[in-house]
């Protein structure tokens, strides 16, 4: 059970200091989560901390590849309604 960071991450640093198990590290091209350390914050917090502050929809996924913050959930911008949306690439 571990979360993953995918290519849409902008390396904004918000998640890194919040991780209770120091599972997140600076890497290129984007930050990484160490699967061996990540517990999805079970037992520590009600919600996974990285996904609770991440500003980019789709940038953090679970082990099945499901986005914790699906398109439209953070910006209110639906990729369907806004073909110019930069978030469209995440669908």
């Amino acid at each position: 059970m571990a979360l993953h960071i995918v290519a849409s991450c902008t390396s904004c640093w918000a998640c890194l200091p919040l991780c209770p198990h120091e599972a997140i590290s600076v890497a290129r091209p984007h930050f990484q989560i160490d699967s061996a350390r990540c517990t999805e914050c079970a037992g520590d917090y009600a919600d996974p901390q990285c996904a609770s502050i991440c500003p980019i929809e789709g940038a953090i996924v679970d082990s099945t590849g499901q986005a914790l913050n699906p398109p439209g959930s953070l910006t209110g911008l639906s990729p369907v309604n806004h073909p110019n949306s930069p978030f469209q690439s995440l669908t």
Binding site: C12, W13, A14, D47, S52, I53, P55, T75, G76, L77
Partner: protein
């Protein structure tokens, strides 16, 4: 803008801060260190993915720095630009959402560049818990962006905040943010820190409500209130940009500013804001960031002690000059330069309206191609009257002009369409004709003369040749 008589506290000297003093912004440079990438809230006018080196607006940045790099950059800029007075952290996220990075940078600078004024610009969410730390690092200037004091309005501006380990949405999120901002403002004022409040004017959402915001922040002792126009273009990829939210017109801004000027109380209005990038370098309205990218900074040999001495000498000279100017203005001119509010773009009869390109504010010393800001004057038989300072670009005007150093000519022409003459020290062949065709006569004959003398000469020329009576020219136009 006049300064308050309030004594400087905690290292805060508005006289040196280009954002806090109308006069200082003509003499002193500032540097924004992009050391704070993380943010703890989302605003509908911000896109956390955005970076464009050709665009100038808050939150946009080309290179995020770690504290070591940020310190190195500040010392390099401080050695190359001896009139540097202020180092601020404004993003690209929120400074106080990155406390370790922020304070590590300030700790170094407090030792190696103790003369530099440090400041931060924050959304206020983490402010109350960081106030004492800010004071400890002798941060005498703090800007809080306050767009509302009503959570129902806040819910339309902020989709979420990160608070106590949860993502909070909607009205509740706005309620917490507002409470934190207000508490932070009170705590800062209590400790003698000068607080500038930035409010983004969002037509249809907080326009009427900002009067209430103004009343509240004034009552709590904010030093300055800065009304900023919303920037919302589809190409920025922000919620407001993509959903067609209107930007305010010049007229909407002006009406708002006029309503706030001259009220009771001590809070001043700021009217020279340039809505800088989070990594801007140089004078306000100028960005020399490209000269100080990290790869360039890494090759610079910096003697920070020598730089500190040089800055101290330069500052003393500038302060002497500013004092002389103040005396001169008190004695002779009796009016502040420039006037604090935007005036309607209507022109009195027998009056010649002219745009002046001037970097020093006294002489015609600026090259047209480098200008982003003009001084607008009305000249009539009553004399020379400064109408306003007018920006001709606020942001990148789109892909067709992206990459150009100068603002698009069409934007400049639109911004100056009520002026009959444009005075500058030099102007290229290319812009000359389109300006002339738009009814704006370019004139570089008065290069390096004082503005007043040049304006008077051009006015006489127009008057004596009978052109002031001609109806169908730019000078008799009154545009909205």
């Amino acid at each position: 803008m006049e300064l308050l008589s309030q004594p400087p506290v905690n290292g805060s000297s508005p006289a040196l801060h280009p954002c806090y003093s109308e006069q200082a912004h003509r003499h002193f440079a500032r540097l924004h260190l992009a050391v704070a990438p993380a943010c703890n809230i989302q605003c509908h006018y911000c896109n956390r993915k955005y970076d464009c080196s050709n665009e100038s607006r808050p939150g946009v940045v080309s290179e995020v720095l770690n504290p070591e790099q940020a310190t190195m950059k500040a010392l390099a800029v401080g050695a190359a630009i001896p009139h540097l007075a202020v180092v601020g952290v404004a993003g690209p996220g929120d400074p106080l959402a990155n406390p370790e990075r922020l304070f590590a940078t300030f700790r170094e600078l407090a030792v190696k560049a103790p003369d530099l004024t440090l400041c931060v610009s924050t959304n206020g969410l983490a402010l109350p818990e960081q106030v004492d730390e800010l004071v400890k690092y002798r941060i005498g200037h703090v800007t809080i962006t306050i767009n509302c004091v009503d959570p129902d309005i806040g819910a339309k501006i902020y989709p979420w905040i990160f608070w106590n380990h949860r993502r909070i949405r909607g009205r509740k999120a706005a309620e917490i943010l507002i409470a934190q901002q207000q508490k932070g403002l009170e705590m800062l004022v209590e400790r003698g820190v000068l607080v500038k409040v930035n409010s983004v004017l969002i037509p249809g959402i907080n326009d009427e409500h900002l009067h209430e915001v103004h009343r509240v922040v004034k009552a709590k002792g904010a030093f300055l209130h800065n009304l900023m126009p919303l920037i919302a273009r589809p190409e920025h990829g922000t919620y407001f940009g993509l959903t067609g939210q209107a930007e305010p017109t010049e007229e909407q801004l002006r009406v708002m500013q006029e309503a706030w000027v001259g009220g009771e109380g001590e809070t001043q209005m700021m009217n020279h804001c340039q809505q800088c990038r989070a990594d801007a370098v140089g004078m306000l309205g100028q960005d020399r960031g490209a000269e100080f990218t990290m790869d360039k900074v890494a090759t610079m040999q910096v003697d920070w002690q020598a730089a500190l001495e040089k800055r101290t000498t330069v500052r003393q000279t500038i302060e002497r000059r500013m004092a002389l100017q103040s005396q001169f203005l008190d004695k002779v001119a009796k009016k502040p330069i420039p006037l604090p509010v935007r005036r309607p773009r209507t022109i009195a009869p027998q009056t010649l309206r002219m745009a002046v390109g001037s970097a020093d504010g006294r002489t015609i010393d600026a090259h047209f191609g480098h200008l982003r800001e003009f001084l607008i004057y009305d000249v009539s038989s009553d004399g020379v009257h400064l109408v306003e300072r007018r920006r001709t670009d606020r942001y990148c005007s789109g892909p067709t002009t992206c990459g150009d150093a100068a603002p698009a000519l069409s934007d400049t022409i639109r911004a100056l369409d009520d002026c009959a003459v444009l005075l500058c020290s030099r102007i290229g062949f290319e812009p000359w004709r389109p300006l002339e065709e738009a009814g704006i006569q370019p004139n570089s004959e008065h290069a390096n003369e004082t503005i007043d003398a040049a304006l008077a000469a051009v006015y006489r020329e127009w008057r004596d040749s009978g052109r002031l009576d001609v109806e169908d020219t730019a000078l008799s136009r009154s545009s909205a």
